[in-house]
């Protein structure tokens, strides 16, 4: 198979974050401040990414605004020729910082939404006053004129707020909303009892999205990530392993997806040791699940094998302990029935508590 150059890179600038959302996609083992890549290394990685064929750069975290050099990093990314997107909760951004980011050439902002009112949003984010602050930041974003995508993360506790989330996106002048049902990786795996939507909720969300797409055509684009465990076919994770995107973790490890560190046999190269080009084309982690040769049955003889590429490797690892297996979401997996039953059991745990994401441990250098 001819390996295509990557289109997108997710730069996880830091694992630090003022919020502690229980569905955070960061790994359970968080990188400390003193292990984070410095400004110059990130700038070099951005240039290497552009040279490799990356067009879209997503600055993420943790909360990227927790990096004091965020403005410098945006300048470096634009100088490298990358389309630069900031994925943020808004916390840590001030009007002045946003103006500086504007001057630095930031192309787009993706703002997360934990709930449509302070009660929900602050409880899920574990940060009192967060919702109010976010609304203020959204106003500044609108005044400056940044193109905006609202990213609403939905689960059993807040799925009823979906219609309001869509309205809010329109009110904020967002061109797009990402309606993302929680995917169970990272910290979310610890919170399946609290967050697993019911099957009825998942179906209702799909219907609401379909109707809103019609009524808001030309006004708001809706990207939809449906509930996973209730589906009959798995998602085409990352557009196919090692085909369109890569992640760089705060400590410089280069990952095929953000949960890849949960797969024990994979080894990850670091940007400090090798050029990104070599890591993408020759790195063992990227080649582990590229294409279709690695696939077991029932994938190998399946006519969907180049549609979903066997689904999510990390999900196969998380649910059945085998990263080489067919994603258990797939109706052809021998584990599909058990997973559906498990999903239904999670979905009725009405009193399940929230297990919040931890913060990175402080190292020898004190965090600010």
């Amino acid at each position: 198979m001819k390996i295509p150059p990557p289109i997108a890179m997710l730069a996880e600038l830091t694992h630090r974050c003022p919020l502690s959302c229980p569905y955070c996609s960061n790994p359970l083992e968080l990188t400390r401040l003193d292990q984070e890549l410095d400004t110059q290394t990130w700038a070099r990685v951005f240039r290497e990414a552009a040279g490799l064929g990356v067009l879209q750069l997503h600055l993420s975290g943790g909360e990227p605004a927790s990096r004091r050099d965020l403005e410098e990093l945006v300048t470096a990314a634009r100088d490298a020729g990358l389309y630069t997107n900031l994925i943020t909760s808004g916390i840590g951004l001030t009007e002045k910082r946003l103006q500086t980011l504007d001057a630095a050439g930031l192309d787009h902002v993706q703002l997360s939404l934990q709930g449509t009112n302070p009660e929900m949003a602050d409880e899920i984010g574990g940060y009192k006053g967060g919702f109010k602050r976010k609304m203020q930041v959204a106003t500044w974003i609108g005044q400056i004129g940044f193109p905006l995508t609202l990213n609403a993360v939905l689960h059993r506790r807040n799925l009823h707020q979906l219609p309001r989330a869509i309205e809010m996106a329109v009110e904020m002048g967002a061109r797009r909303i990402e309606v993302a049902t929680v995917q169970f990786h990272g910290w979310a795996l610890k919170n399946r009892d609290a967050f697993m939507p019911t099957r009825a909720q998942a179906q209702e969300a799909t219907q609401i999205v379909a109707e809103a797409r019609k009524s808001l055509k030309g006004t708001l684009v809706i990207d939809y990530v449906p509930a996973d465990y209730h589906d009959d076919y798995p998602k085409r994770c990352m557009g196919g392993w090692g085909t369109s995107g890569l992640n760089v973790a705060p400590d410089g490890q280069v990952l095929p997806c953000h949960a890849a560190q949960t797969i024990p046999h994979l080894e990850f190269d670091r940007v400090q040791d090798k050029p990104l080009q070599e890591i993408w084309y020759k790195g063992s982690a990227f080649n582990a699940y590229r294409g279709t040769d690695w696939m077991p049955e029932p994938c190998q003889s399946c006519d969907r094998k180049t549609v979903d590429f066997g689904g999510c490797r990390c999900q196969a690892m998380a649910i059945i302990g085998d990263p080489n297996a067919t994603d258990p979401v797939c109706i052809k997996s021998p584990h599909h029935g058990a997973l559906q039953q498990q999903a239904n059991t999670h979905a009725v745990q009405v009193d399940a508590p929230l297990n919040y994401r931890a913060q990175p441990q402080r190292g020898v250098v004190q965090a600010d």
Partner: protein, 91 residues
């Protein structure tokens, strides 16, 4: 797209020459659209001041193609971008 419509690329949507893939692309929020020669020519003519009918005239002349065909092709292309919020229209 109506004759009098003035299409424009909104903030955050821009043409970019992709040296690695040797092609023009339209960069938009979290998306990249690969452009063929025709798509690139159409968007090159979108400057936020020309009306759609003027764009069609311009393209028909430069490609030596019938107005009607250019009009329907460009209209479909621009409408699709508009639906994805990659294009604004001032009328």
């Amino acid at each position: 797209m109506e004759a009098q419509d003035i299409p424009a690329l909104p903030r955050g949507v821009r043409l970019h020459f992709d040296r690695v893939r040797d092609t023009w692309v339209l960069l938009a929020p979290e998306r990249a659209v690969t452009l063929d020669g025709v798509g690139h020519a159409i968007l090159n003519a979108v400057d936020g001041t020309r009306r759609f009918e003027e764009i069609v005239d311009h393209l028909a002349e430069s490609f030596g193609a019938p107005q009607e065909q250019i009009s329907s092709d460009s209209s479909g292309f621009l409408d699709a971008l508009r639906d994805r919020r990659f294009l604004d229209v001032v009328s």
